[in-house]
């Protein structure tokens, strides 16, 4: 009986020890749903299961410094500001909030690298899922996007000034005046010289109207321009913006391309009429004009010609140039080839002799590229059209920054071909990859491009076009060419299987002998 007592006690002790002390729940959380984003000094891995963001920065010895930040419950989406400095994480908080201390919907920002780490949090009014970031990295807009709340206002926006901490007037929560439409796309303008001073606008396209929000005074009522009537629904398809002449504050314009309609709406931003000044808090008014382009444009842009500013509308084999003041249009015949995309490349190739812009035309799935110099020669409304025929169809055009802004990388839609297009010499150097579908990344300094597929990795020197091939031991899913906080560049190749691994190479002098390898990154820095 005594032995039984002892055994019973031991058994009880074992049972208590086995079941009484549970481990922290984070170790049971799956790793599904991790979102990986490149930043200027490293990469960010948002790990919703562990409710954290892991920021990884390469050091001098190619090791990865790891900073873990707690994120709010209910991860929705994450983005990095275009300058690469901040990670933005949008979270719903606890839904429904049943206790006062339940987490609220928030937008959090994180920076790390070089030993410094900062974080900010902006409280939001509703658990929304849409996040748009200003190309100039100052503002973020939180909006509804497929949220499944019982009752939802799709026209509700929260505008966050990322350069300021949370205050009573940051973020600004507003509801767009709606004529039945819901936001479809957002465009942040650069500084426009408008009546009342320089300001930036947020152009919100709904499925039937346009709203202009003054980002420098978002608490002012927005200007809404209805596009549709009861009988004619006009859905916006794209936006182009012109500040006009620098010395004038009454010639800024916004052009709106419509889906399935040959009209383009040009909104002139003019001074408020004297008679209306007491009735509106705005210092400018929006005056819409409809111009007809003789076809449904696939792309639009404001271009400078020797005759002044024109709106260029691309119509397949034609280009229509519209005078935004008079509405008079003139057509440019582009020949037999169709084009659907237009990019102004004047800042790279320079203006023509009479100060006109130069545009590059291309089309996904086509093997032709054209350069058109605007201006006029006798009998035609353009200076010159120069065409380039590739041996394969183009799927995407990737711009290069830094020291080589005159280069573009053209990806083939079939096979593994890549062309490096020189906008200055109008040549396209072909490069052949042994297999199709390779991933492509370019460095911020414009010095190199990286292609990867499977375990194969290649560095392409964009100055000499010399490729350098590497074979890693693990399949590569993505690569990031980043600047080390201490100087120099590093390449982080990710192996997105399991708990995520990485291989870090010196981006300027890559060698497998000096590479640093990692496995199980999502285990690191957990509590």
């Amino acid at each position: 009986m005594r032995l039984h007592n002892a055994c019973f006690a031991l058994t009880a002790l074992v049972a208590i020890g086995s079941s009484g002390c549970e481990r922290q729940p984070v170790w049971d959380q799956p790793i599904a749903g991790a979102q990986i984003l490149g930043m200027d000094h490293g990469i960010a891995i948002v790990d919703p299961g562990a409710e954290r963001a892991l920021l990884l920065s390469p050091e001098d010895d190619l090791s990865l410094s790891q900073d873990s930040f707690a994120i709010t419950t209910g991860f929705a989406t994450a983005k990095v500001t275009p300058d690469g400095s901040r990670l933005l994480v949008l979270s719903h908080g606890t839904v429904p909030r049943e206790r006062a201390d339940d987490p609220e919907p928030t937008l959090q920002t994180f920076t790390a690298g070089g030993g410094a780490r900062t974080s900010h949090s902006y409280r939001l009014s509703d658990p929304l899922s849409g996040l748009k970031v200003d190309p100039l990295s100052r503002f973020a807009v939180v909006h509804a996007s497929g949220d499944a709340a019982f009752l939802q206002n799709p026209n509700e926006l929260s505008i966050v000034d990322l350069t300021r901490e949370q205050t009573d007037d940051n973020p600004v929560h507003l509801t767009l005046r709606s004529f039945g439409g819901t936001p479809q796309a957002f465009t942040f303008t650069e500084d426009l010289v408008l009546p009342g001073g320089k300001r930036r606008l947020l152009v919100v396209q709904t499925d039937r109207d346009i709203a202009l929000v003054d980002l420098d005074a978002p608490d002012l009522p927005e200007i809404t321009i209805p596009l549709s009537s009861d009988t004619n629904k006009m859905v916006p398809g794209g936006v182009a913006v012109s500040d006009g002449a620098l010395e004038r504050d009454d010639d800024a314009r916004i052009a709106i391309r419509l889906q399935d309609d040959s009209s383009v709406i040009i909104i002139n931003l003019e001074p408020v009429l004297e008679s209306d000044k007491d009735d509106t808090p705005q210092s400018f008014r929006a005056v819409p004009n409809f111009v007809f382009t003789d076809g449904i444009p696939s792309d639009i842009a404001f271009v400078q010609t020797d005759g002044g500013l024109r709106l260029a509308a691309l119509l397949g084999t034609r280009l229509t140039l519209v005078n935004p003041v008079t509405g008079i249009a003139s057509a440019v015949d582009l020949g037999a080839q169709e084009f659907s995309q237009m990019t102004i490349v004047t800042d790279v190739v320079g203006q023509t002799s009479d100060g006109s812009d130069v545009a590059m035309l291309w089309s996904p799935g086509k093997s032709h590229i054209a350069f058109i110099a605007f201006g006029s020669t006798v009998g035609q409304p353009y200076k010159a059209i120069e065409k380039l025929k590739l041996d394969t169809a183009v799927s995407t055009v990737a711009p290069i920054g830094g020291d080589n802004p005159h280069l573009r990388i053209l990806r083939s839609s079939t096979g593994g071909a890549v062309h490096v297009l020189d906008l200055l010499t109008r040549t396209a150097a072909p490069l052949h990859a042994s297999s199709s579908g390779a991933g492509l990344t370019t460095s911020a300094d414009g010095g190199r491009a990286w292609l990867h597929q499977g375990s194969s990795l290649a560095k392409l020197d964009l100055t000499t076009l010399h490729p350098q091939n590497f074979q890693l031991q693990r399949p590569i899913s993505r690569v990031f060419d980043v600047t080390r906080p201490s100087g120099g560049d590093a390449l982080i190749t990710l192996h997105e299987s399991g708990l995520i691994g990485a291989t870090v190479l010196d981006a300027q002098q890559p060698a497998l002998s000096t590479a640093r390898h990692y496995a199980g990154l999502l285990l690191g820095e957990l509590p």
């Binding site: 009484g20 170790w27 799956p30 997105e496 199980g520």
Partner: protein, 258 residues
């Protein structure tokens, strides 16, 4: 103190109390309870204390003890979480004691012991495992309570080798490290039987049970790729929470003294 830790401590204290009460209450003669008509037992009862004292004296001449069994430890340190869904860590245990000093029923000596155990779990969807090898030696004391029962205590400083791994598809990760520990425990032993002459047994067989607490240092758990010897790759480390294998422990073992 967290509630589970309190429950664990309470459980150990309770068990210890039961054991001690059981040992102290055991009369020497009654340990040979009369069975149905067994003449030898009846004779032993008749001989009374003298024969028991004689057997006890011979048993006490044994200077060597070997033991093997099972050791359990409750490790509540959060560094244990990545490798185990609970806090109980089971080990096999081997020990050898040499008891050269004797004062009456008290014997003193040294005990060396080796404990080894492992635990595994599914961590974030990845198989994880941890092995701990503990080897140490320290003072060991026994006191005889009649011919069947003994109480013992030990204080064993030890070196602990921790070997952990994750079998991830991005690459197998492993971490190895050392730390110290100091096991303090008290226990009781029940003689199951003896070999040899009854008045001069060559060896006696025991069931032992110990309870105590193991103090331990903390070791960093830095994981890197588990590479073949000729693999030239240089792996960086991923830091997991440091681990201290400390906590209440218990041991159940079979021992032989000779």
């Amino acid at each position: 103190m967290r509630l589970p830790s309190f429950i664990c401590a309470f459980g150990i204290a309770t068990a210890l109390g039961i054991m001690c009460q059981t040992a102290n209450a055991t009369p020497i003669a009654s340990s040979s309870s009369p069975s149905t008509g067994d003449r030898r037992n009846t004779s032993a009862q008749a001989d009374g204390a003298d024969s028991t004292e004689e057997a006890l004296a011979h048993d006490d001449d044994h200077r060597f003890v070997g033991m093997s069994g099972f050791r359990g430890q409750v490790i509540t340190h959060p560094g244990m979480d990545p490798y185990s869904t609970g806090d109980f860590f089971s080990q096999i245990t081997l020990g050898a004691a040499f008891l050269p000093l004797k004062w009456g029923h008290l014997k003193l000596g040294v005990l060396s012991q080796y404990d080894m155990g492992s635990v595994d779990a599914d961590t974030r969807g990845i198989p994880a495992s941890l092995s701990i090898h503990r080897i140490g030696a320290g003072p060991y004391a026994q006191i005889s309570l009649g011919d069947r029962w003994r109480l013992s205590s030990r204080v064993i400083p030890a070196a602990n080798y921790l070997d952990a791994s994750f079998d991830d598809t991005s690459g197998k990760l492993s971490s190895q490290g050392w730390t110290w520990s100091l096991e303090t425990s008290v226990g009781a032993a029940l003689r199951l039987g003896s070999a040899g002459k009854s008045d001069d047994p060559k060896a006696s067989f025991w069931l032992t049970a110990d309870l105590g607490y193991t103090f331990a240092g903390t070791t960093e758990m830095s994981f890197s790729g588990d590479l073949e010897q000729d693999d030239p790759r240089d792996f960086g480390t991923v830091e997991l929470p440091p681990l201290s294998p400390r906590g209440f422990s218990q041991r159940l073992a079979f021992a032989v003294s000779f």
